[in-house]
Amino acid sequence: MRARAAAVQLALLAAVAFVLWYLASNTAANLEARKIASGFAFLGREAGFEIGEAPFLAYGAADSYARAIVVGLINTFRVAVIGIALATLLGMVLGLARLSRNWLLAKFAAGYIEVVRNVPLLVQLFFLYAVITENLPGPREALSPLAGVYFSNRGIAFPLPAPHAAHAWVLAALLAGAVLAWGLARWARARQARTGQPFPVLGAGAALVLGLPLAVFLAAGAPLALARPEMQGFNFAGGAILTPEFATLLFGLTLYTAAFIAEIVRAGVQAVDRGQSEAAYSLGLPRSRTTRLVILPQALRVIVPPLTSQYLNLTKNSSLAVAIGYPDLVSIANTTMNQTGQAIEGIAIIMAVYLTISLSISALMNWYNARIALKGARR
């Protein structure tokens, strides 16, 4: 019996290996027959095209294809990371709002979720992009609701604090505050275990994290010179700008994914039996501590696995950037493929990168899931 099973497995493995070998050799033969260049040597060649947004890594047309693709990767990461954070936040709020006893709030959240979940994301992106580029005025007639902030069809230009030596100290104070708050929380937990006395960790922690940097900032004389955007020639110079493409993609992904996350959160909370909170109340735990110590740990167990797929979806959906002109990984890899004609290599790069990102997110979320799993529960 075991021998037969092993033989079947072996045969299957051989078949898979044969198919892979056939694909590889057939591809090579076809490319050769059509005189299409192959290999990854093109990555080192000069790209020759410009990229609209290249944050964190300087890029010019004289740089290589490899560097252009890395710029695309950074752009994908930028929109995915911020998008995941915002979508989680908005999704939590919407999910809890849908459970609210306030009729208006609950119905509004339900309506939002149903509409947004059921309209294709690409349509939403085109809609948002049109709203931004068609309705906002040109840069010379930009709307300025606040001094130094300009809304135009070139994006939202806003001031940034000019760098100052004291800013490093403020950042250090922020880190110190965070470390102190963490220590305080540990101490408070140990003390409560010993004496049963609770300590207002949340308030004190917040005071440390926010107060310390603020104190340092004020002590340094509040050096906040703003670099304001100003109209120079065709566009705004100075300050920072949120381009319509980035804004569209970020808001589109956030609004769309948040609707799904909201349902996951609602499902998670409803999955916790009523008896759990009733038991906690009967023990005399206040409502906030019941939520934090009894409901949430059990809800998270249900929430986290499907949340992981939403994070993966958001990251992969960011490739819709192509349609609205945000230079993400797929957009730049597409251009590269087109300029060099090496589609197989380009697609291979895209697949490898998305696979790596997705597996990393999965691994991270699985680790977190294991951490929040009920201790002592059978797995």
Partner: protein, 336 residues
């Protein structure tokens, strides 16, 4: 997204297809009964469906000419609209037989992409279009401008080269579909739209709310010879496409048009006799019917007729696309 699909499909085709190039394209086309032609998704004057869904334009006429030569029927063409990014993969993978989509002939495409450019049907150059209200008179004043451009084009590369050479900077807004990129320009997302001058004239004439509000700057920053493309390594098909284009040029030079070719078919001019297939066996050399050239001119027309029908109404000038005998660059090798 469609681009990704097509490119992925192309990659998959390269992975799976077996003996795709064992059969010559000409035999394959003859046996399936139509020419599969890759065209633009919608560029007025070159390839665009009209109100009844029939494809019209200079590039479309190249496809029709090939069908007329092969089948004696210009209507035996099926069109595949392709974006700039999809086009080469579609041709490489055998999805289309000809790519006739205002495609610039460059050495990279001719060699490492595994393609062959059959002929030049339009001599073009890259230019810039700006709204008149910006008061820009020269491309040299465009430092710092936001520029709308399509990806995967020579345009995108020339643009970067031009600004580098002139030590100027710009912000590209790169959108794949022509409709979307021109919408972005007309909505004011960009200060400038750049593509081949033919594309600018066509876009201004067919999409601008008021064409007079937009100015095409005098600088032409590149050479863009546009023409039909076929796969590398299939010489018979290459010859058919090449000579279908040359036949349209030769007809104009001989003074033969769709209107007068029947009357002139009995002309004693030996060049005309050879051309219409009354004498000689030029058609057989191409493995086609001997009346191949007659069919092209009778059903599609000569190059000048095609130009006047498709481009003149949009405000195009013959310019360098006139015949060599009239001071232009259009020159067909002798049909003999």
């Amino acid at each position: 997204m469609k681009a990704v699909h097509s490119i992925a499909a192309g990659a998959a085709a390269a992975l799976f297809s077996g003996a795709l190039c064992a059969q010559s394209t000409l035999d394959a086309v003859k046996s399936k009964g139509y020419v599969q032609c890759g065209v633009n998704t919608g560029l007025a004057g070159f390839s665009q469906p009209d109100s009844r869904g029939a494809w019209k334009g200079l590039d479309v006429d190249t496809c029709r000419a090939v069908a007329a030569a092969v089948f004696g029927d210009h209507a035996k063409v099926r069109y595949t609209p392709l974006t700039a990014q999809q086009r080469f993969t579609a041709l490489q993978s055998g999805e289309v037989d000809i790519l006739s989509r205002n495609t610039t002939w460059t050495i990279t495409r001719d060699t490492s992409l595994g393609l062959n450019f059959a002929a030049v049907t339009y001599y073009d150059g890259q230019g810039f279009m700006v709204p008149k209200k910006l008061n820009v008179k020269s491309a040299k004043q465009l430092n710092g401008a936001t520029i709308c451009v399509q990806p995967g084009t020579t345009t995108e590369l020339n643009l970067a080269d031009y600004f580098r050479a002139n030590r100027m900077s710009f912000k590209p807004v790169v959108i794949e579909k022509l409709e979307e990129v021109t919408n972005a320009y007309f909505a004011g997302r960009c200060d400038v739209f750049t593509t081949d001058v033919s594309g600018l004239v066509s876009t201004r004439g067919s999409r601008a709310a008021n064409p007079a509000d937009h100015l095409i700057l005098p600088e032409v920053i590149s050479k863009e010879p546009l023409g039909p493309v076929v796969r590398h390594g299939d010489d018979r098909w290459f010859d058919v496409v090449k000579w279908a284009v040359f036949a349209m040029l030769e007809a104009e030079e001989l003074g033969l048009s769709s209107k007068n070719i029947d009357q002139n078919a009995s002309s004693t001019n030996p060049a005309v006799q050879r051309f219409v297939g009354a004498t000689g066996d030029i058609g057989k050399m191409l493995a086609l019917d001997n009346r191949w050239a007659y069919n092209i001119v009778k059903q599609v027309g000569n190059y000048g007729e095609s130009f006047e029908a498709n481009l003149t109404p949009l405000g195009f000038d013959r310019g360098i696309n006139n015949l060599w005998t009239k001071g232009g660059l259009m020159y067909a090798p002798p049909v003999r």
